[in-house]
């Protein structure tokens, strides 16, 4: 049981990276389908479509960053012993697990919805390629909330002195 705290923290890392990764896969996947359709009609629009397809990918990266910070926090690369020479306590583990939830949950949903906006924006490129930047910006609006989730997760993982 002495590893329970560490395990909980790692579980949090897993949630952060997995949920936001799922969201990004769905978002990028949907956008990719739409992009392939447009490119089949006009291969010249490939780059513009690719950029839009890539936008929902960032949530997965945010989740990855939080997971990575958790690994550093619990000293996963150095034998799990913290600075004070002890393992992470159960309470600390629950704390870190909770800190991982914002980016996990928000990442999941915002990536899916950003994917939907990206699909529409790819449709916009098909009709009016010169307006592609506006499509990109509309996608960026959805990402704001993932960024806020990331922010809270990072601050909550990093700032408190979890022991």
């Amino acid at each position: 049981m002495e590893y329970l705290g560490t395990t909980l923290a790692l579980f949090g890392a897993a949630i952060a990276v997995a949920l936001s990764g799922i969201g990004s896969s769905i978002g990028v996947g949907k956008a990719g389908q739409a992009a392939a359709g447009v490119v089949s009609e006009d291969p010249d629009k490939f780059m513009k479509c690719l950029i839009l397809q890539l936008l929902p990918a960032t949530q997965g990266i945010y989740g990855f960053i939080v997971a990575f910070l958790v690994l550093i926090k619990v000293n996963a690369f150095g034998g799990f012993l913290l600075d004070n020479g002890a393992l992470l306590s159960t309470a600390g583990g629950i704390g870190i697990l909770a800190a991982c939830l914002p980016i996990g949950i928000v990442g999941l949903f915002s990536a899916i919805h950003q994917g939907k906006v990206a699909v529409s924006s790819i449709g916009l490129i098909a009709k009016r390629p010169e307006e592609s930047t506006k499509g990109i910006l509309m996608c960026a609006m959805v990402e704001t909330y993932a960024l806020l989730g990331l922010l809270i997760s990072i601050l909550a993982v990093f700032i408190p002195n979890w022991v």
Partner: protein, 668 residues
């Protein structure tokens, strides 16, 4: 960075001056023609016929460009080394107006070449469809490949019947067994379908037919005087010949590569001609003369008048300042540095003619924020070097290099911020080294400080936005609203700025020991200033209203509106999020390389053979994804958080005659 003054041009001209006048306008690139109200005894004339002719020529030219593109693609497939490098994008040089006219003079020759291309194209299409037909026939004959009979040999004799056709392979053996008592059969194996041949006495014909039908037998419908394999060989032979002919045609097609440039020039010539025809449709005409109106930038008025006087004797032209109700188009004047960022403003919308051009502020803040978002000096160096090198080598004409210069400048900003954050390809700096001394703090170790820095940036930009709006309102005589509603926020933000040192210590972002006394003092002052500002906003909401109820709702409305401001301020935390993202991913890439060298390969030099590509690909990925992120989110901060305060961007951009070309840049 400002909006260029415009003057309204009105002219009356004789039809004989028309083409000279329009040519002059195109050459000057300084006239946007607007619709003129019909005057007595005049009427608009539709230029349908002329435009149709131009459009059909444009179609032909578009075909030629597409054809050459196709040919160069096809040619590359079989002769990569000698494949010509053709530029199907906009040509990176200024084309003189005379060159367009010269090209148009030789258009007969050019269109002859295009009709040759059309012939080659139809030959190629014919070859393609014949080959498709042959491929389909080969597919159909394939199951009969092993059957040694010629198709013409499959026929009934006086006493026997003969059947040949296909049955599904899994049913073939059962069918053979079934008709073994009365028929001679043979099966020639193939993939899904087997060729099945059966011979029987006429008396048994009925029985055989029933058996065949029961096993999904499909009779063969061919009567070639040859075996299947013979026909297939023949078809393949023919196919090889066609392939050779196709190559010949492609080679013929590619030999027209020299026509690409003239075709592109001629395309734009007709594009301009169509624009001219469109413009003429806006002018009321009498048959002998016409009236035209348009906008001309002030500094172009004099040279234009001179040119018109000199070349068009039967034209009378007048200029006047725009009237109050009129909305002239917007042309932005800019210098090379801040002009690089002009694209950001234009994407949102150019300012209305009488609105302020936010360009200089956008340039400053965009530059500032970009560096924080990427936050790695190494990446910044790469960006700056690559962008400026491309600009140096390619020398983009007109405005086409603006974006590159912008990213180059942002690279410089990234170098500065990266050095402050100690980010050099995410390598952990040695303590006490030169680069370490350069750095201010590491956002990975002190995220809270980074967070506060981001918000501080937001405070500065939003305060600027409110101040600009306040100035505009005061200028337009809305003095109360300007002072209270807008400058109230500026006061609040100044208060916040004074509060910042206290806040950083209080939140533990900085831990000075001992805590200097002035921090408490500035904190107190800041708080009172912020409260005073808040009071100004409440007053501003109530000001100018007579009904006390409306005063209260107005004040409450302003208080409620402050929630928006706070959420906008928090939005600047994306600077922090994106900045940290770069650092962490870079760190992971480095760790991976370290793992490969030291753990997998035990520290041997050969580990680097694997590690170096990992480093290059990893950092390239990191740089590209963060470039995209920074570009998008930096723009967003300008559009929503900054422009939301004061800028509408509802002008329409100055669109001079001859300004829209597709494949060339007109020198004007």
């Amino acid at each position: 960075m400002s909006v260029v003054r415009m003057q309204k041009m009105s002219l009356v001209a004789h039809e004989s001056d028309r083409s000279r006048l329009l040519k002059l306008f195109v050459k000057s690139g300084a006239v946007e023609v607007t619709r003129t109200e019909v005057i007595e005894n005049t009427a608009y004339v539709q230029e349908t016929e002329r435009k149709e002719e131009y459009e059909s020529k444009l179609l032909k030219l578009t075909f030629a460009i597409g054809f050459l593109k196709e040919m160069s693609k096809e040619y590359r497939l079989f002769d990569k080394e000698n494949a010509p490098k053709l530029n199907f994008k906009k040509e990176n040089r200024l084309v003189e107006l005379d060159e367009y006219y010269e090209t148009a003079k030789d258009e007969v020759e050019l269109f002859a070449a295009i009709s040759d291309m059309e012939k080659i194209n139809s030959e190629l299409v014919a070859i393609k469809s014949e080959r498709a037909r042959m491929a389909a026939r080969i597919d159909q004959l394939l199951p009969y490949t092993d059957m040694p009979l010629r198709f013409s040999e499959i026929r009934n004799t006086e006493h026997t019947v003969m059947f040949a056709g296909l049955v599904p392979i899994e049913k073939a053996e059962a069918l053979r067994a079934d008709c073994a008592p009365y028929a001679e059969t043979a099966v020639f194996g193939a993939a899904k379908q087997s060729a099945f041949v059966a011979v029987a006495y006429k008396d048994d014909a009925k029985e055989l037919e029933t058996a065949l039908a029961a096993y999904d037998f499909v009779p063969c419908a061919y009567d070639y005087d040859d075996t299947a394999s013979g026909i297939i060989a023949e078809l393949k032979d023919r196919d090889a010949t066609l392939e050779l002919r196709r190559k010949e045609f492609v080679e013929q097609g590619i030999s027209y590569k020299d026509k690409l440039t003239p075709v592109k020039v001629l395309y734009d010539y007709y594009k301009i001609e169509v624009a001219k025809a469109d413009v003429m449709e806006l002018c009321p005409r009498t048959g002998k003369a016409f009236v035209m109106e348009g906008w001309v930038p002030v500094d172009k008025v004099e040279p234009l008048t001179k040119d018109i006087k000199r070349k068009c004797k039967l034209t009378e032209v007048f200029f006047r300042d725009p009237a109050d109700g009129e909305q002239p188009p917007t042309l932005l004047k800019s210098d090379p540095v801040t002009g690089a960022f002009q694209g950001i403003t234009e994407m949102f919308g150019v300012p209305a003619y009488r609105e302020r051009d936010p360009g200089i502020f956008v340039a400053i803040f965009y530059f500032l924020f970009f560096g924080i978002m990427i936050s790695d000096a190494g990446y910044g160096l790469i960006m700056a070097l690559v962008c400026f090198l491309i600009v140096k080598i390619v020398k983009p004409v007109k405005n086409s290099g603006r974006m590159l210069i912008m990213f180059g400048l942002c690279g410089i900003s990234t170098v500065i911020w990266g050095a402050l954050f100690g980010g050099w390809f995410s390598i952990t700096l040695k303590e006490g080294s030169f680069l370490d001394k350069l750095s201010w703090f590491n956002p990975m170790n002190e995220p809270l400080k980074m967070f506060l820095l981001s918000l501080a940036m937001g405070v500065i930009q939003m305060a600027t936005g409110f101040a600009l709006k306040g100035i505009d309102e005061i200028k337009s005589k809305q003095i109360w609203s300007g002072i209270f509603n807008q400058f109230g926020w500026v006061v609040i933000f100044i208060g916040l700025a004074l509060l910042f040192p206290t806040l950083t210590v209080f939140l533990g972002a900085i831990n000075p020991d001992p805590v200097p006394e002035w921090i408490g003092v500035t904190g107190d002052i800041g708080m009172y200033v912020a409260i005073a500002g808040f009071a100004m906003i409440i007053l501003g909401g109530a000001a100018g209203k007579k009904n006390p109820l409306k005063m209260v709702t107005g004040a409450l409305g302003n208080v409620y509106g402050s929630i928006n401001v706070v959420s906008d301020l928090l939005s600047y935390s994306r600077l922090f999020g994106l900045g940290l993202t770069t650092g962490v991913i870079g760190y992971v890439v480095n760790m991976l390389a370290d793992l490969i060298v030291n753990t997998f390969f035990g520290g041997g030099w050969y580990g680097w053979i694997v590690a170096v590509p990992v480093l290059i690909v990893g950092h390239a990925f990191n740089l590209s994804i963060n470039l995209l992120g920074a570009y998008v989110h930096d723009s967003r901060l300008q559009y929503i958080e900054f422009f939301g305060r004061f800028y509408e961007g509802k002008g329409h951009a100055f669109n001079p005659l001859g300004g829209k070309t597709q494949y060339t840049y007109l020198n004007n």
